[in-house]
């Protein structure tokens, strides 16, 4: 076998690896998305219905991604992770929104109570 042939066959191997084995395990993406999921949990996403929906979607997406990774279906896993990341990010902002609204409402209630006491 001549040298060009060897390099060509190595190149074929490389191509095969990319083509068949598909993408590498999206470990970094998974870690980032998992951190976002954790953040959503900490932010109290489970307590607001809208946020809870996206928290659930993110969690399911990451579970699916892990299963796909163990099946060596990394490309599909990356897709699931991308979606889960978007859901986790949204869940965080939604829980922040819910909390901000609740605080405003609580304060307003306090004001109303004080006002009613002043009138009396």
């Amino acid at each position: 076998m001549s040298k060009p042939v060897i390099s060509a066959s190595w190149g074929a191997v490389g191509l095969l690896l990319i083509g068949c084995g598909g993408a590498a395990v999206p470990q970094d993406q998974l870690s980032t998305a998992q951190a976002a999921l954790k953040g959503a949990e900490v932010a109290g996403a489970a307590e607001d219905p809208k946020a809870a929906l996206h928290l659930k979607l993110a969690r399911e997406g990451l579970d699916r991604a892990k299963a796909l990774i163990s099946d060596d279906r990394n490309e599909e896993a990356a897709s699931a992770i991308d979606r889960a990341q978007a859901d986790a990010d949204l869940a965080i902002v939604l829980s922040k929104e819910a909390r901000a609204k609740k605080e405003a409402a609580d304060t307003r209630e306090q004001v109303e109570e004080l006002k009613s006491r002043i009138v009396k």
């Binding site: 990341q85 902002v93 939604l94 605080e103 405003a104 004001v111 002043i118």
Partner: protein, 311 residues
Amino acid sequence: MTQQHRISSAFAVKHVARTVRVSSLSSLFVVAALSVACGAANPPKELLDARAAYTRVASGPAKDLAPAELDTAKQSLGRAEGSFQEDGDSPRTRDLAYIAERRTLQADAQAGIIQAERDREQVDKDLKKAQLATIDKTRAELDSERRAKEASTLEAKQSKADLEKEKKAREEAEKRAAAAMASLAEVAKVKEESRGVVITLSGAVLFATGKSELLPIAREKLTEVARAVKDQGFKEIVVEGHTDAQGSAIKNEALSLARAESVRSHLVGQGIPPDKIRATGLGSNRPVAENTTAEGRANNRRVEIVVSPLK
């Protein structure tokens, strides 16, 4: 886009791909088919959702309150649209559209946060105002409560002072009366009877034998009697002259009356109103002792001042 559509378009792509391998001649057809597939492919549900969300959110408060997040959403949707233009309804397009919808909702939520924070600021101001008003009200209530308390305390003090004054006055009156009685007791025998307070002065102290002029010492004693009687207060005074049984009854009565008159005029001279005091001579008609002994006769020679008390 229905499931049916997705399946058929996917099938079309696969079919075309196989055709490519079969014949290079048909490659032109392939390109045509692909472009047809892309142009004809209905946008996936994810993209439709993302577009609808963006249209809704972009015309809402996010435009003003979360422009940066809205722009991120716009770019995200742009990538999804680009992918759809290039690859049609591919998994990547769906992923990008899915992500774009969430970015859009995120912009909306961010606007909600900003709005809530602004509301909160206003409400905080209202709260501060309400708290100050509450404090003012509480202070006013406390003030009026304190004033009421002070007023009632003052009233209590005043009524207490009044009582105190009254009590003192009463005590003084009692003291004065007691002192008057005591001073009377020194100069005369004082007895409380049903007709009033009876002050009995011995005739020996008042008069010389057979005379009706008061002795100097008698004047002093009667002056004290007058003061005591005035201090006590009275309705009426009757001065009664009494003698022993020696001598004629007529003489005795005349003497007793003259002596009673002497006492009366002295008392009037000491400030007893004349219309409230009268004199009477009873002679020996009302002895208080036996006339058989010298001591008894001495006791019978007397003047009684009967003071009828104020009712």
